[in-house]
Amino acid sequence: MTQPLLEVANLTVEFATDAGVIRAVDDVSFTVTAGETLALVGESGCGKTVTGLALMGLVPSPPGRVVSGSVRLQGKELTRLDEQALRDIRGSRMAMIFQEPMTALNPVFRIGSQMTDVIRRHQGLTRRQARQAAVEMLAKVGIPVPEKRIDEYPHQLSGGMRQRVMIAMALSCGPQLLIADEPTTALDVTTQAQVLELMTELQREFGMAMILITHDLGVVAQTCSQAIVMYSGRMVEQAPVQELFARARHPYTAGLLASIPRIRERQLQQLPVIEGMVPDPLHLPEGCRFAERCAKAKDYCLLAQPELKPIGKTASQVACYAPN
């Protein structure tokens, strides 16, 4: 069996706050093989963005800290690398793009300056070569008249265009892994579809793996092969996307799927919702973190946390005592 591109094992990230220590990511493990698309799904605050940042070594510290766990990129342990070595990897072998295209680019420098800065740093090209490479990348992400756009400032571009620039910048050094943190959330629906399509297309062309962080299950269905569902800092389910949509094992996943607005056979009075609230990260329950909101919760669910276990001989894993 070939070595996976990325191996994450028992990753735990904590944040020190005035009120106490918050465990934002708790014992998360997964692997990404080359060229694969993995979805990291969950609601706001479930730890999916922090997981992404931790992979890049970008957890803001202080107050954040990777407490334990390992992140291996092609067998190379990243959590023990120093800043200098990490900087050489960031942007060149793994890149990350963020949710807010409106603010993610530096407003006082031209697009070209920001792109060539990254390209020259990682690929050691001359100014002119880097500019040429940047123009080519901009053309690839579908920016019209790139040789002119490259000399514009971020505020002169629309949100969708800016996200395209971010993608161009992320792909400019040919990374093996792209972490995309809600790349389309801030865009309007038609632009969303275009940007997603572009990302999958380029992913295939460049043969890179992608971790797509999102709360939008529709996006997952369109683009991903594997999905991880996170709840309150923990993984509750991992499954190939088709299986996940066909049969959600964890009650939380099932609840998420049920609450997607779509065309149904009969009209509903109200969209199904998952009752209750996410537990306070400062006072986590001893048992299953979803138990309080779970319709099927039994007494033993409140006693100890269920471990993530494979289901039979399938590729799926679920952390539930009574999976569907």
């Binding site: 890049m56 970008l58 202080p62 990490l86 900087r87 050489d88 990897i89 960031r90 942007g91 060149s92 890149a95 990350m96 793009i97 963020f98 807010e100 603010t103 993610a104 680019l105 530096n106 407003p107 006082v108 420098f109 800065d117 990254v118 740093r121 990682h122 400032y153 505020h155 971010m166 910048m169 992320a170």
Partner: protein, 317 residues
């Protein structure tokens, strides 16, 4: 060309401001100000003598005429002679403004330069020991009154009780060495007092810029910290920094530093202004007030043009 047209528009827009300020100050210090008549007439004056003096002083003219004459004086920069020394007001200004500038500039440059530098260091080690040390010292510096700082530095550096390195009073710019000797202690006092405020202000600005999304983006693309500090943080902090710096310039040029000038016996514009207020020397006061208003309009114009230089999102329209 764009800048030129813009400047022209701004200058025109500044005219009402100058008119407003001069009108108010004219009302307060001239129209309702001290009446010189009875200082000038002799004992037991007759009604004719009083009327004659009043007409010499121009008091019998209608309000509008007197105000328009003031405006003429502003345009021609000819404010007449000082009532207390009979020196031409324009020559008083020409003599004292350079003194105040030379006195205040070193402290101004050092205070802001060091302020930005310390703020960068504090922001970089945000929340850590160095940050707390710098911000704690800044709070101490802010809490000390300017007066106390001046006297303390005079005793420490210029008296026989202290190191006795510098002259305690006076002003001499004939040689660079003499200038340095006379400007050092006032500069130290200014920097000591201003640095706390500046550091706190600049740190707040820089910390805000440090938490921007594009800083995180740059980190995610492997840009080293020094470059992030320059390109992402400092460059984006320039708008508030420029504002603060440019708007302090009129204050230095015109009001000078009254405390510094009186405590070090330095013949600058601050001292002249203070004396003019005390003695009711209207020609000098009128000149100072008008110049201040004009300088603020110029400062505003300068900041707007500087914004355009540091931030491409600002358009000069």
């Amino acid at each position: 060309m764009e800048v030129l047209l813009y400047s022209l528009r701004k200058v025109i827009a500044g005219i009402p401001l100058v008119l407003g300020v001069t009108l108010i100050s004219f009302l307060l210090i001239v129209y309702f100000g001290p009446d010189k008549t009875y200082e000038l007439v002799g004992k037991n004056p007759t009604a004719e003598q009083i009327a004659e003096v009043r007409s010499q002083l121009g008091y019998d003219q209608p309000f509008v005429t007197r105000y328009v004459r003031y405006l003429q004086e502003i345009v021609t920069l000819d404010f007449g002679n000082s009532e207390s020394t009979d020196e031409k007001v324009s020559s008083i200004l020409a003599r004292t403004i350079p003194v105040s500038l030379l006195l205040a500039m070193p402290g101004f440059i050092l205070g802001n330069g060091l302020g930005v530098a310390l703020a960068l260091v504090a922001a970089y080690f945000r929340g850590g020991f160095i940050d707390k040390l710098i911000m704690g010292s800044a709070a101490v510096g802010m809490s000390v009154s300017f007066l106390i700082a001046i006297i303390a530095f005079q005793i420490l550096l210029s008296s026989s009780d202290g190191l006795n390195l510098f002259p305690v009073r006076g002003w001499d710019t004939s040689t660079p060495l003499a200038y340095i000797q006379h400007v050092t202690v006032p500069t130290l006092a200014t920097v000591f007092v201003a640095l706390g405020y500046n550091t706190r202000f600049y740190r707040a600005v820089i910390v805000e810029e440090m938490t921007r999304d594009h800083v995180r983006t740059a980190r995610a693309f492997g840009v080293p910290p020094a470059r992030i500090f320059y390109r992402n943080i400092l460059k984006n902090s320039m708008v508030p920094i420029v504002t603060r710096v440019v708007f302090s310039i009129p204050l230095i040029i015109i009001s000078g530093s009254l405390l510094l000038e009186s405590y070090f016996g330095i013949p600058g514009i601050g001292k002249v202004t203070y004396d003019a207020i005390v003695t009711g020397d209207q020609p000098v006061l009128k000149a100072v007030v008008a110049l201040t208003a004009i300088l603020f309009v110029v400062a505003q114009l300068l900041t707007d043009i500087c914004y355009r230089l540091v931030d491409p999102r600002v358009s000069l329209r």
